[in-house]
Amino acid sequence: MRRAQHTLFGLWAVLGLGIAWAEGAPVWAAEGDAANAELLYKTYCVQCHGATGKGNGINVRDMSVQPRDHTDAAGMVGLSDDRLFKAIKEGGPAVTKSVLMPPWAGVLTDEEVHGLVRHLRVLCACEGRG
């Protein structure tokens, strides 16, 4: 009987942990994705878009076209997530913008590009229309 109780307790414990994991995992994953996207942004994007995302990175001084200000909600709202994804993955010319925005397909996976699109929505504190 005692052994049976132990077994039952063990089963409940496993079940409980399972539920906790099932509920907790997506939250952890989302936090991990957000942190990873921020790290990618600070590695590949800030050189032109700026440490604070205002479009004023260290490389901008001699550029003929200014990079987009990612904190500008009024401008960012007009760009759909699909368009942002395409611009990051395939570069500016793919969305009729400047060649100074290069294609990142050779460095970033699709999943990482999606993460960057979500990070841009955090920076602009906006959702995309259009």
Binding site: A51, G57, N59, G91
Partner: protein, 238 residues
């Protein structure tokens, strides 16, 4: 069965391609190798492979040297090691040296005071280290497949290609204090580097350095040849 063998061979080839062979320094200068181990290994990757995570590429303190013999010109290495100058205006990882601007009409700056200077070597040490580095050629086969075609290029067409059509100027300087800060200066590239390496790196930067913040610009052979020529022209100009 034949298909299975083909796939197996393909996988084996892919694995061989993906894992850079360890550097064999036996042919190099023994004194140079000892100096490298004592004085250079703290900041430079001498054994490979290249960093394959974003964290690792950000943590790098100096350029990877495990393929130095595929990359550099020996004479330049020997001279530079005696009188080192800054090649990367933003440092090994530019992100560690940014002073952010809070205004949108002003740009971020590089905190030049935070950039470390490279130590200088004596002439005999520089020669020994250069010889040891030039023996690091794990990508000799890749370099051997590159053919740089000589092209004739008016300088203004090179400027257009570099600045406007391909946007290299965004990150690289094509003259003293003209251009971007996150990549190495390129008006000295032809003095420093093997032209075949320049071609191969521009063709696919990630083949050399998987997480580097230089994108693959999908450059055609004609443009690669022109850009190699352009880098030679601006090196002669400076």
């Amino acid at each position: 069965m034949r298909a299975a063998i083909s796939i197996g061979c393909g996988l084996l080839l892919a694995a061989l391609w993906a894992v850079p062979p360890m550097v064999a320094n036996a042919a190099g200068d023994a004194a140079g190798s000892a100096l490298l181990a004592e004085q250079c290994a703290g900041c430079h990757n001498l054994t490979g492979p290249a960093p394959d995570t974003v964290q690792a590429v950000r943590a790098r303190k100096g350029p990877d040297l495990f393929y130095a013999g595929d990359k550099y010109r020996a004479e330049w290495l020997t001279e530079w090691l005696q009188k080192p100058t800054r090649i990367r205006p933003g440092g090994a990882f530019y992100g560690d040296h940014i002073v952010p601007s809070q205004a949108t009409d002003k740009w971020d700056q590089i905190d030049t005071a935070s950039l470390p200077d490279h130590p200088a070597l004596s002439a005999p040490d520089a020669r020994a280290v250069s010889a040891a580095l030039m023996a690091n050629t794990p990508y000799a086969e890749r370099i051997a497949t590159v053919t740089v075609e000589p092209v004739s290029l008016p300088i203004f067409m090179g400027d257009m290609l570099f600045d406007k059509f391909k946007g290299c100027i965004a990150c690289h300087q094509s003259g003293k204090d003209y251009g971007g800060f996150s990549g190495p200066e390129l008006y000295t590239a032809a003095d420093r580097l093997n032209p075949r390496f320049i071609y191969s790196y521009m063709q696919n930067p990630q083949a050399w350095d998987p997480k580097i913040w230089m994108p693959n610009m999908n450059l055609a052979a004609a443009d690669l040849n022109k850009l190699v020529r352009y880098l030679q022209m601006i090196a002669e100009e400076e």
